[in-house]
């Protein structure tokens, strides 16, 4: 809408615009939520790979259930947790298309644990964008499998928050999936700062390359904020990712189909980690 009304002065050039893989609509995401950033990163990568017209998105159940309204892509909306199975069906029928799932922590790491593990076991040529914000956002802030010990949610309430004796420990998906031979690329990034966002985009691109080059399943976990669910200001929520989530969910590349890729990523990571 703005683009049409805005007349670009002569002699200027566009340096930042909406990716073609996104639609021009206002999202339902809460102010401060990082889903918008994650959507944009994925869309930029699809544009750069010239993949928009052969991409098929599998949307999850959770906050990003309406992703089909925001991505300008063919989309199948899947049952809770089943996105990797749905993506498997699509990819086997259309092996030359770019198939990816976009899933939250409840979807992927609780009800859909079997589906993501076995999609990786089979080495499905799909890409998985995994949003870890340590909480069930859509349903009102319940405990997720990635909720930290001591973290208060509506189902791990005060005064203890998540208690290991009662509710176990946060699950580290990347560490687990990196043990599987069919997983070609496994990385965890964070959306907590411009620096981390730039790095997260490189992970996403690599996870799509794993699919395009036929190496196997690529997954990128993105540590994300849910300032509303966490009951924090947006800025504090971003800080909380670094201070509380990163120590439990360390950033980096856990698996790369090429040894060279692992080494390069390790070097790149070490530079940022020091900062």
């Amino acid at each position: 809408m703005v683009d049409k009304e805005f007349e670009r002065p002569k002699g200027t050039e566009i340096v930042y615009e909406r990716p073609k893989s996104l639609t021009d609509v206002v999202t339902h995401y809460c102010p401060g939520c990082t889903h918008g950033i994650a959507h944009r990163l994925v869309a930029e990568v699809l544009d750069e790979l010239d993949a928009r017209e052969r991409a098929v998105l599998v949307a999850p159940v959770g906050c990003s259930v309406l992703a089909y309204n925001y991505f300008n892509l063919d989309t199948q909306q899947a049952a809770h947790g089943r996105a990797p199975a749905v993506a498997t069906g699509i990819k086997r029928v259309l092996p030359d298309r770019v198939v990816f799932t976009y899933q939250g922590d409840g979807d992927l790491a609780a009800i859909g644990t079997a589906e993501i593990v076995h999609a990786a076991v089979r080495g499905e040529r799909i890409t998985v964008i995994f949003i870890n914000n340590a909480i069930f956002g859509m349903t009102g802030g319940q405990m997720a499998p990635t909720t930290l010990l001591g973290q208060e949610t509506t189902t791990s309430p005060k005064p203890t928050g998540r208690l290991a004796e009662r509710a176990g420990y946060p699950i580290r998906v990347c560490e687990m999936l990196s043990q599987l031979d069919g997983a070609a690329y496994v990385a965890r990034g964070s959306l907590s700062s411009p620096q981390n966002i730039a790095k997260a985009k490189r992970h996403i691109r690599k996870a799509f390359q794993a699919q395009l080059e036929g190496h196997g399943l690529g997954i990128v976990e993105l540590l994300s904020s849910c300032n509303v669910g966490w009951k924090m200001s947006p800025v504090d929520a971003l800080k909380w990712i670094d201070s509380h989530m990163v120590p439990v969910f360390p950033l980096g590349v856990f698996k790369d189909w090429s040894a060279a890729g692992v080494e390069a990523a390790r070097l790149a990571d070490s530079g940022v980690a020091a900062g």
């Binding site: 259930v65 089909y68 089943r82 199975a85 079997a114 589906e115």
Partner: protein
């Protein structure tokens, strides 16, 4: 029709699916239907298809969802406990209007039950099975040949109405060998086009396959649209066989139970009893039209099932109080004998209540 061959029910159904253009099969082992995935695992690669042994029934039906949404003819098969798990995906497929075929070789239940033949999943199959206001088309073939025939029909109707179709067999049908004529394979290029499939939004607006309607008015509208489709299916897709339509009394049975009843009816007629049969082939839509043809002259119906009485509800609805409807069933994997059925026919004719 091609050559006549001797085949096990499960394998014949699998081959019929391949000939109907099915190139994608997703399944999980469970007795008594394992010959279907086993057959598909060797057969599909020969025709450029894909077989996946999924990690669960849930994954299998959701792979069917994805493959169907991508435009393919896809199928899964299982037996009762496994089909319970698939209900989530079947509900989503019905809601998102995706075609696909689900074979249920029914075994005794509830719970883990047993591995012997049963018909106790009739309610589940004909009432939708999962959550929400929806139906699936359900076939209850009585012979291996009829199973082969309805398989082609199942894929055809699934595509025509964009809805999942269930083939309700039982352990006996899956395991027995019978001579069958297989149809000539369909050419994939001649299958109906699916412009709604998610194949990548190249030169068109994105296709979205979805069952979410957060606005209640929208969700009701979607349900009414589905219902309008089901009304058409009910009006046009009923299938049944009537044997001896001029009889006074009728046995109602489907699947392999109908074959046992046929024996009993022959014995009854040899004794001079005027007994015929109404044999539903589509269980949903229930063939009420077939009942209309005989109900005015009928003195009574005897429904025989391998369950404690499920289809008999539909028979009572079809008969609507116009004459008595009796029931006889064995369950848990027990199969009624023709002697038992004959005894029930005699009771019905003599008007005995016990």
């Amino acid at each position: 029709m091609g050559q006549r061959v001797l085949m096990k029910g499960n394998e014949a159904l699998a081959e019929a699916a391949v000939r109907a253009g099915c190139r994608f099969f997703f399944g999980y082992p469970i007795t008594p239907q394992n010959e279907i995935p086993e057959y598909m695992s060797r057969r599909l690669p020969e025709v450029g298809g894909t077989f996946i042994q999924a990690e669960s029934e849930l994954a299998a039906i959701n792979m069917v969802y994805g493959a169907a949404g991508a435009g393919a003819r896809a199928m899964t098969s299982s037996s009762s406990p496994g089909v319970s798990l698939k209900q989530e995906g079947i509900s989503y497929m019905a809601a998102a209007e995706l075609p696909g075929v689900v074979v249920n070789m029914v075994r005794g239940g509830p719970g883990l039950g047993g591995i012997q033949p049963a018909q106790s999943d009739y309610y589940q199959a004909t009432r939708g099975g999962g959550h929400g206001d929806y139906r699936t088309i359900v076939f209850g073939p009585a012979t291996v040949q009829e199973g082969v025939d309805v398989m082609s029909k199942a894929f055809e109707l699934a595509d025509k109405y964009r809805t999942p179709v269930v083939i309700l067999g039982d352990g006996m049908m899956g395991q027995m060998m019978e001579p069958v004529s297989l149809p000539e394979p369909l050419e994939l290029a001649k299958l109906p086009l699916k412009p709604w499939a998610t194949t990548g939004a190249k030169g068109r607006r994105p296709n979205i396959i979805n069952s979410l309607f957060l606005d209640a008015e929208e969700c009701e509208k979607h349900n009414l649209a589905l219902q309008a489709k089901y009304d058409i299916i009910q009006a046009t897709e009923q299938m049944a066989e009537i044997a001896f339509p001029d009889s006074d009394w009728f046995v109602v049975a489907y699947g392999t139970t109908a074959r046992i009843c046929r024996e009993a009816i022959q014995e009854a007629r040899a004794q001079g009893l005027s007994v015929g049969m109404v044999r539903p082939i589509t269980l949903w839509p229930f063939p009420v039209n077939a009942f209309e043809k005989v109900v005015e002259r009928a003195k009574g119906f005897l429904t025989v099932e391998m369950s404690l009485g499920q289809m008999v509800d539909d028979v009572r609805l079809a008969v609507n109080g116009r004459c008595p409807v009796r029931f006889f069933g064995r369950t848990g994997g027990m199969v009624p004998s023709d002697e038992e059925v004959l005894a029930e026919i005699e009771k019905m004719v003599e008007g005995r209540t016990r």
